[in-house]
Point group: C2
Chain length 401, copies 2
Amino acid sequence: MAESGEVLIVSAPGKIILHGEHSVVYGKTALAASIGLRTRVRLRSSSNGATRLHLASLDISREWPLKNLSHAIPNMHGRQNPAPPQPDLILVLRQLSESDKGDIENSALLVFLFLYTHICSASGLPALDVHIESELPPSAGLGSSAAYCTSLAAALLTATHNISHNLSNSRWQQKDLELINKWAFQAEILIHGNPSGIDNTVSTFGGALSYQSGHISELKSIPPLSVLLTNTNIPRSTSTLVSAVKGNVNKFPDIYKPLLDSMGAIAVEGKRVMDALADRMLPEVSVACNTLESKDDLFCIWETLIDVNQQLLMAIGVGHPCLEQICRVTRKHGLHSKLTGAGGGGCCFTVVPPGVGANVVSAVRTELVQCGFVCWETDLGGPGVCVHAPDPAELHLAEEK
Amino acid sequence: MAESGEVLIVSAPGKIILHGEHSVVYGKTALAASIGLRTRVRLRSSSNGATRLHLASLDISREWPLKNLSHAIPNMHGRQNPAPPQPDLILVLRQLSESDKGDIENSALLVFLFLYTHICSASGLPALDVHIESELPPSAGLGSSAAYCTSLAAALLTATHNISHNLSNSRWQQKDLELINKWAFQAEILIHGNPSGIDNTVSTFGGALSYQSGHISELKSIPPLSVLLTNTNIPRSTSTLVSAVKGNVNKFPDIYKPLLDSMGAIAVEGKRVMDALADRMLPEVSVACNTLESKDDLFCIWETLIDVNQQLLMAIGVGHPCLEQICRVTRKHGLHSKLTGAGGGGCCFTVVPPGVGANVVSAVRTELVQCGFVCWETDLGGPGVCVHAPDPAELHLAEEK
């Protein structure tokens, strides 16, 4: 367990799907990258015989006296190889986590109790004080639940010495990251039923990855790509949208299946462009690459892929007038946008190529905010889960919030 | 030759491509139907030793003394089986038709001289007075050139007794229509180089047809379908757009070829829906069809096909902000729209299902006109080329214009 009074601060990023939402369900390649918006867990041991959780973004505080949790401790010691939680135990945890708030809040409480009881129970549950806040809007396709699961799993595994305290650049070693990722995935299953694993993997390892039929492969290096993220604030259900697309594909396979093929091909080409851009943007290879596609050529292809995929997503029925509005506003300023995630609302990202001035981005952002949307400028492919404290400066900041 | 002083009035319709523009170039099925906008030819013999042509819509009048045309008469008597015009003769006709106006005007004059010299030269060229006016905007994808070629070929073939004067319901017999269509196709070749033959076939036979790889098949019956046609007035070049799509397909075949496959499947399904709708809308079969897809179901599919194809056309790069604007305006009123023809501007059609009130169509139309567009309400699948006069009422009308 962490020393009494010592504060551990861990954060993990959200993600965007660059290409392949929906088509990934049909075995096609998807491409995802981490974003700069993160979820932060502040954890310290407590001495009052209870574990307290404060979810700042959801405005929830809960306290569980440890004696009330004794029947919720799993009969397992598999912290190094997490298995799916047992159904009867999940029922117990569900009762303990129930609130009069919505589904998101209940899921967050359930996941906390699941990770807490399963990771921390080796020698009796410790009393903890856990504060979690997130820059990621929930249910917007930005991987907020994965960032929550990943940062919480990492904090609990670190506090209980299941993973190393010897970090390099605030990052764990590969095997420790893999363990964090496995726990985060089990927690994601609790929330989503049958997640692909993309979200927790990006949140754990950062950078960008491609995914196909259960196989995840990280991109070796990713170019410095900036995006403007816009949230339509239109709520939507991923499972309803996935079902609607499935209905279309089943009813008119000759019309819709080719579109999924095309989306898969877009993701594959997108990966090639990202790899090539990463090469071009390393100064030492820029001369050797003069005979190849230029950086501008590659960005032009990248933008075309964004446009085509956006149209195809609308064609399969997951567009929304607000998403079209964002595309229209950004196009007026020469920028290209695409929905990310399930569509039907949710978020859109706009590519900001290196040459685009801050005044352009600022003008676009102002116009989008005037439309009633929420925007964030962020870089893609930043670090995955990492530790911020022990570090007095960070600690101070975190406590001020 | 027609009796001196007798007036012959012939008209032929334009068309819209319902589905399959662009994908038809790659061997996929296309679906086209005639529209209510027509081109009208008024022809009478003249006695002043010259042939006069007045193209009212293009504001052109030209007169050729017959003696100046003697070297332009082809050395052929193949009026019943028209062959491509000889290149040297085309050069002569081009010199005779040259004007200081634009390409459209020069093409119209060339086609007139071609059809006139080739159809009417059996026993020396007759002096004619020909007045042509059209409701069809040129270069908008509505088949204006085919309606011009078809109506002119029919008028000249009738005036010269190459086809029958014994008409039923103002329509020629099948073999006469086939001859008109062949001449119109030769004239279309002069204008477009390598036309598919869809436009002249729809203009000749009316109704609706499907086309694939040179094979044209008429739909047996077509349902009463109404559309609102909107012209963006954005000029575009079909050949430039076709080349741009070809460039995309060649560069990224895995991305674009599936979209063409999907467009072909949409046209096939569209044909099935039109056939089924035609069945449902015959009163005598409506009871027997109760267990099948309802008329409403079929219209719902029809509208989905319109939406998906519009998105795919935008995905292959032939959209335009004005076309998107039309789709947006009509969707606000619950109506579905799609570009027709080459895209990149040109025309859009909006499906008007039977249950939609005149007030809705009127509101949409008003809003589109306020955007600066031109609209026409028309039915699809009306009659092909037909004769209006000898008929004093019609003649009177035509002269008033």
